[in-house]
């Protein structure tokens, strides 16, 4: 392992001699400040944020969070000399100094980049908004509304979350945590490569993996639907999340059908319940609150509460089919 790390350092040193790959600015990742531009972190070798710097590894999720059809690219950074740790099905444990970086683009133009930084006192989430020239992304602590057109052709007021809203979703028992890189939502191949590169201590044992979203037509409908709910709902709807008081828990590993919403009455849904009485009525998607809220775009009704201004027409049939097939 030492040898490998040394070899990587060496190759980084060699590369650094050339004009290109910028180094990640480890100090910016861990310092207790909010860098004003994304470039200060040095996560990318170019100003346009297209080429990851040395040590910044692209990854994808089996089934991702849907954000009005934004095209996303994800990167993970683990500082030199450190390693991520596997913990079974769950989140990869990323050491202090690590970062997760996510680009959001529409029509091949970057709109925002969200970073999660693992500092000594915990994870910090920050949103950066790109300029129209695509040369610089600046910190938007208070979030932003941006008018744009989704891939489905709908004009929306896209919401860049503010720093607190980042935390609303990334909050587990009051602590900010990453959401995406859980072993069950990463491919076996990627995990193996990440471990082989020395960035991960070992390949985690995954009991059951979320299917690839593109393969949803051939995957069992329950697996596709549950994978989608995990990625899109379970960050709040889990016993330690922002929606803990609802008693509705939509994580991939949840086994209690009542907690999953089947014949469960709402608690504090307010008008979010519409005229329906249960979160999921088996066989009846049109009478299920879950479908009602997930297909609404009205503030106070729509779920997720943040990050969705339009309807996910690809996911709706999957969720409906799953509920329609329940007995």
């Amino acid at each position: 392992m030492r040898l490998l790390a040394a070899a990587m350092l060496l190759s980084a040193a060699v590369l650094a001699a050339k004009p290109a790959p910028r180094q990640v600015n480890d100090a910016a990742v861990v310092a207790a400040s909010f860098p004003q531009t994304l470039a200060e972190f040095g996560f990318f070798a170019d100003d346009a944020g297209t080429r990851p710097a040395a040590g910044v590894t692209p990854y994808r999720l089996q089934t991702p969070l849907w954000s009005d059809g934004a095209e996303k690219s994800r990167y993970v950074y683990v500082p030199p000399g450190k390693q991520a740790r596997s913990q079974g099905d769950g989140l990869l444990v990323l050491p202090v100094g690590s970062a997760l970086i996510k680009h959001f683009a529409f029509a091949d133009k970057l709109v925002e980049t969200r970073v999660l930084l693992h500092r000594a006192d915990g994870w910090v989430a920050l949103p950066y908004v790109w300029n129209t020239e695509q040369t610089e992304a600046r910190l938007a602590l208070a979030g932003r509304r941006i008018d744009l057109v989704t891939p489905a052709g709908q004009a929306i007021s896209y919401g860049v979350p503010n720093k607190n809203q980042c935390k609303d979703c990334h909050n587990l028992a009051g602590i900010t945590m990453p959401i995406g890189p859980k072993a069950y939502n990463l491919s076996a191949q990627w995990l193996a490569a990440f471990a082989k590169a020395g960035r991960l201590d070992r390949v985690p044992q995954v009991s059951r993996r979320i299917p690839l979203w593109e393969d949803r037509a051939s995957a069992p409908v329950a697996a596709a639907a549950r994978g989608y709910l995990d990625a899109n709902c379970a960050h709040c709807h889990n016993p330690q999340g922002a929606a803990s008081n609802s008693g509705l828990y939509l994580g991939w590993l949840e086994q209690d059908s009542l907690a999953l919403g089947v014949n469960k009455r709402p608690v504090a849904a307010g008008r979010g319940a519409g005229s329906h009485e249960f979160d999921i009525v088996p066989g009846e998607p049109d009478h299920s609150i879950l479908v009602y809220r997930f297909t609404s775009t009205e503030g106070g009704v729509a779920m997720p509460e943040l990050g969705r201004e339009s309807r996910d027409s690809a996911a709706e049939p999957v969720i409906r089919a799953w509920i329609a097939g329940m007995r």
Partner: protein
């Protein structure tokens, strides 16, 4: 380090009262209020006050506060208005997720979801805050006006809420709660204490709601076993607004014209309230009426004590099956206290007082099987008052120093 307890407590109180670098961040109404106010709420540090100027803050998204020990203060509940009429996203107007926060002297209007929600926010104070849906009672209004949940230490004092499509003031899954000196009108429930313990609800004025004050306990929630709650000295008057809650909500089942309603719960003390002109019943005590599978949940009300209260009118137009026949039988109005009759534990009333049991044979039997009977010689029960209840004195001091 060892420190005598009193010194440690004093040091702590001082630290909370006057942090070393406490500062005031002024935010005025006007252009780009959303960004300026949200930034102030993010950059505030423990001990700071974010001071709203007078005027109307036109907001496009929900606001949130996640820093411990911050005070958000306006120039008065009618002077500084956070106007969410143009809100696009988020589930509430203002969300608080940090501890020791004080919210005072401002208003929230027309939020798309709840008005102000504080979750997992211990020792929160709401003082002279107003939450209003300006179009009157409507199903499309937000559910809760003031909504502290999953917290220990809650004080809601001197606030004013109108138009909530669920509860004006709703405290859920919390403990050590005081709700006092508030005015709630034209909401489905005026004040609701749900799955909570050690609450004191006192000196509130609730009028023109569907139901005045509700104390509920529901199954399948992370926190259950509500009780040890005192409802006293409230004016519960003329709660006669037709129920406008969306159908799926538990409060959609509250009969129009209910004064104080206790559902499930253990140990609720209803004392010295003034109940006037609540047309279904002044006090209604019931079991949770729906099927459930949660083995840890007790659907029955236990040790509910209805002490001396004053009753004026009411019970003359009860919204329940067979209501007109019942009122006719009983000489024009139901007695002030009505119990569904489910379970062995009837409400405890003062000697000589009679009450109506609807004689419903079981929790999910429904009114069709009801065999109403006037219980004119109630079994005496122990009038045991709850133990410790209410928010701590430290919270009092933040509202009314």
């Amino acid at each position: 380090m060892r420190m005598p307890k009193t010194i440690a407590a004093t040091a702590m109180a001082l630290a909370l009262a006057a942090p070393l670098h406490a500062k005031t961040i002024d935010v005025a109404a006007g252009e780009d209020a959303q960004t300026r106010l949200q930034e102030a709420l993010i950059l505030a540090e423990p001990g700071d006050t974010v001071q709203l100027g007078a005027g109307r803050f036109l907001l496009t998204d929900g606001l949130s506060l996640d820093v411990d020990g911050v005070t958000l203060r306006g120039a008065g509940m009618d002077a500084s208005v956070l106007d969410f009429t143009g809100q696009k996203g988020a589930g509430e107007g203002l969300l608080v997720t940090s501890d020791e926060v004080t919210l005072r002297d401002f208003a929230v209007e027309n939020s798309k979801g709840d008005g102000i929600k504080s979750k997992g926010a211990d020792n929160v104070v709401y003082y002279r805050v107003r939450v209003t849906w300006t179009g009157g009672p409507k199903e499309t209004n937000g559910a809760y006006g003031i909504y502290p949940v999953s917290s220990t230490g809650v004080l809601v004092d001197g606030c004013k809420v109108s138009g909530a499509s669920d509860a004006g003031i709703y405290v859920g899954q919390s403990k050590a709660i005081t709700v006092r000196y508030n005015y709630v009108e034209q909401s489905v429930a005026g004040i609701e204490i749900e799955n909570s313990r050690d609450a004191l609800v006192t000196d509130n004025f609730v009028t023109r709601n569907t139901g005045g004050i509700l104390v509920f306990d529901l199954p399948n929630l992370p926190v259950m076993g509500g009780g040890n709650t005192i409802i006293k000295n409230n004016a519960v008057v003329g709660n006669d607004t037709p129920n406008f809650a969306p159908k799926g909500n538990i409060v959609a089942g509250v009969p129009r014209g209910t004064g104080i309603m206790v559902m499930a719960n253990e140990g609720v003390w209803v004392s010295m309230n003034r109940l006037a002109h609540n047309p279904t019943a002044h006090v209604l005590v019931v079991a949770y009426p729906k099927p459930f599978t949660d083995k840890a949940y007790n659907p029955l009300p236990r040790s509910v004590v209805i002490e001396e209260n004053s009753y004026v009118g009411g019970g003359d137009d009860p919204q329940m099956p067979g209501g007109p026949q019942l009122t006719q039988m009983l000489g024009g109005r139901l007695p002030p206290v009505v119990w569904d009759g489910v379970g062995p534990s009837q409400p405890i009333v003062p000697e000589g007082m009679s009450f109506l049991s609807l004689g419903v044979p079981g929790p999910d039997a429904g009114m069709a099987e009801a065999r109403p009977v006037l219980i004119d010689r109630p079994q005496p029960g122990a009038m045991v008052a709850p133990g410790r209840f209410g928010a701590s004195a430290a919270l009092d001091a933040r509202a009314r120093p």
